[in-house]
Amino acid sequence: MAELIKVKALKKEYKMGKITVPALNGVDITINEGEFVAIMGPSGSGKSTLMHILGCLDTPTAGFYSLENEEVSNMKKSKLAAIRNKQIGFVFQTFNLLPHMNVQKNVELPLMYGGYSKRKRSRMAKKVLSEVGLSERLKHKPSELSGGQRQRVAIARAIVNDPAIILADEPTGNLDTNSGNDILGIFSELHAQGHTIIIVTHDSYVAKRADKVINIVDGLIQEIEETQKTDATAGN
């Protein structure tokens, strides 16, 4: 399988006043197309920083990062915006939907910045919303939905542009067990359809779904376990 993400000796440091705090201390990762990867680690381990860099929201202090054979570690910010728009879909613990926009508009947001026509946006948004089972909720505001439904809207928004990777940061962290399982089911389905998925979590139950688990502690990769390939639709 083709290499999608290649990270070498990645370092990230934060300056807090005069002190420099290292967050990543030289990380090497390779993620192939179609893989389902979990990044695990305790809080403060650097896993969120890693996700932000992989998602082009942040830039590394040093090291190499290429996405689809294109080096992104030295890209300009406007180019990174285009990459976030086209190649990456984000799903967050707190959903991060725009509260004053309805479900459909929220899903259309990346398409708006992608320059799609209004009609095309509407068609694409409706299509992905039906895939996550929310065709009946197009005009609802996020506040009128349950947590699980909100996360499904967020997933729809993440996949509407058909990105190369889906990055999820504790996507079940704010959900009850049932809704959480629903969401994990959707990720498994997306994986089965061939999407590349990276989930950041501290929950080993969530990590079990993945093909590969990257354990990160103190900004360093401690171990990479290849889990036994489980059936994509197996839940509970």
Binding site: K77, A81, R84, N96, L109, P110, G114, G115
Partner: protein
């Protein structure tokens, strides 16, 4: 690739609409500022129109007046009046003048059948009626023949007629002017112009209705018996040639009086220009005050936009995450501010225009609206939006998405 301007405007409008109360409070400053710009501009236009109308009523812009300079204390005791011969000389030196009328004024008592009235009588030539564009309404005005014969005739203003005759027909009657009996040959047309000033008579031209006119020759030969004429009035071919003619007359008269300014020579055209200039100073001051109030409104908007951006930090983070570039965020907030100020501007224009009649009633000057005012008001309010939206938009566009997403 990028979010379009139209998109930004739609986002701006929906943001405005989703926070109606706050938006309305935000734009109050702009509404009031734009409103005052409209009122001030309409007031300027009204005052200008009124000044021009007043000048026209006083005989038009081609009129030039020569009279004693009260500000000159005349140490050499030069003659502060003209002789008839001097006037004939002056007249011959300005053949380009269309009309020429020397006049001499005396304060006298008018009497008729036991009734008395004190007022001014003017000795004039027939050109008077062309210069002042003011003729007899009843009977006739003084003729060349009256002047050559020094006839004992008088033309009276409506106020004198009312005081002495009431509703009786005065034509052909004899009245006593000072000590001489003169026959009334005409009554001047009643002059009226609505007075807009805060004080004074309702009729701004009432003083003209209190005047009476006799042939200049009658006054010199049968009245005072002195060949001294205090002032004269000339009318140029048109308003444009009036300033040149005024200059020429001034130098002729200075030559007659050893170069000393014993007389003043004033052209209505220049007077009007001077008045317009004086008014312009006030207009600029008013306008600047309106702009300052708009700037204050702009500062309020900038402040609220900064608060809004703080509140919407997370939203900005989300937008950046899904692919918004800095320029997209910048345009979104800048356009939003401009949308807000333009809405404020439009409301201000509507309120301002609807206030014009009310203001007119208060200050008794007709305020005149014009399309250029709407354009100016809109341009200024959009400009204020641009200025006050710039800094908040830059701050929004520079946000770090990672921090913005964590913002609570």
């Amino acid at each position: 690739m990028a979010i379009s301007l139209k998109e930004s405007i739609i986002v701006g409008f929906s943001d405005f609409w989703s926070r109606k109360v706050r938006s309305l409070v935000t734009i109050m400053g702009i509404v009031l500022g734009t409103m005052s710009i409209i009122v001030v501009l309409a007031l300027m236009k009204g005052i200008n129109a009124q000044t021009l109308a007043w000048m026209m009523e006083r005989g038009g812009l081609s009129k030039i007046s020569v009279y004693e300079n009260w500000n000159y204390d005349n140490p050499l005791n030069l003659r502060d009046y003209f002789t008839w011969r001097e006037l004939e000389l002056i007249r011959s030196l300005v053949p380009e003048a269309k009309y020429f009328n020397p006049q001499e004024r005396e304060w006298v008592k008018f009497a008729y059948e036991g009734k008395e009235y004190r007022s001014a009588v003017y000795g004039v030539l027939p050109d008077f009626k062309y210069i002042e564009e003011w003729d007899a309404d009843q009977g006739r005005f003084i003729s060349e023949f009256d002047v050559s014969q020094s006839n004992d005739v008088v033309v009276i203003g409506t106020e004198i007629k009312n005081e002495l005759f009431g509703s009786k027909d005065p034509i052909g009657e004899f009245i006593t002017v000072h000590i001489r009996r003169l026959q009334v040959i005409g009554v001047m047309k009643h002059r009226f112009m609505k007075n807009s000033g805060p004080v004074g008579n309702e009729n701004g031209l009432a003083y003209m209705n209190r005047r009476a006119f006799v042939p200049l020759s009658t006054m010199i030969h049968k009245g005072t018996g002195e060949d001294n004429i205090g002032s004269f009035v000339v009318k140029a071919q048109d308003a444009e040639s009036a300033p040149a003619l005024r200059e020429k007359l001034e130098s002729i008269i200075l030559n007659l009086r050893q170069g000393k300014p014993v007389f003043r020579v004033e052209s209505a055209q220049e007077e009007a220009e001077q008045m317009a200039k004086n008014q312009r100073t006030f207009q600029v001051i008013f306008f600047v005050i309106s702009i300052i109030s708009l700037l204050v409104g702009g500062i309020v908007i900038a402040n609220i936009m900064l608060a809004t951006i703080q509140e919407r930090t997370r939203e900005i983070g989300i937008r950046i995450t899904v692919g918004a570039r800095r320029i997209d965020i910048f345009i979104q907030f800048l356009v939003q501010t401009i949308v807000v100020t333009i809405i404020g501007g439009i409301l201000g224009i509507i309120v301002g225009l609807s206030l014009l009649d009310l203001v007119s009633k208060f200050i008794d000057i007709k305020l005149i609206a014009g399309p250029e005012m709407i354009i100016i008001a809109l341009a200024v309010s959009a400009g204020i939006g641009l200025l006050s939206g710039l800094i908040p938009a830059v701050i929004a566009s520079k946000m770090d998405p990672v921090k913005a997403l964590r913002y609570e």
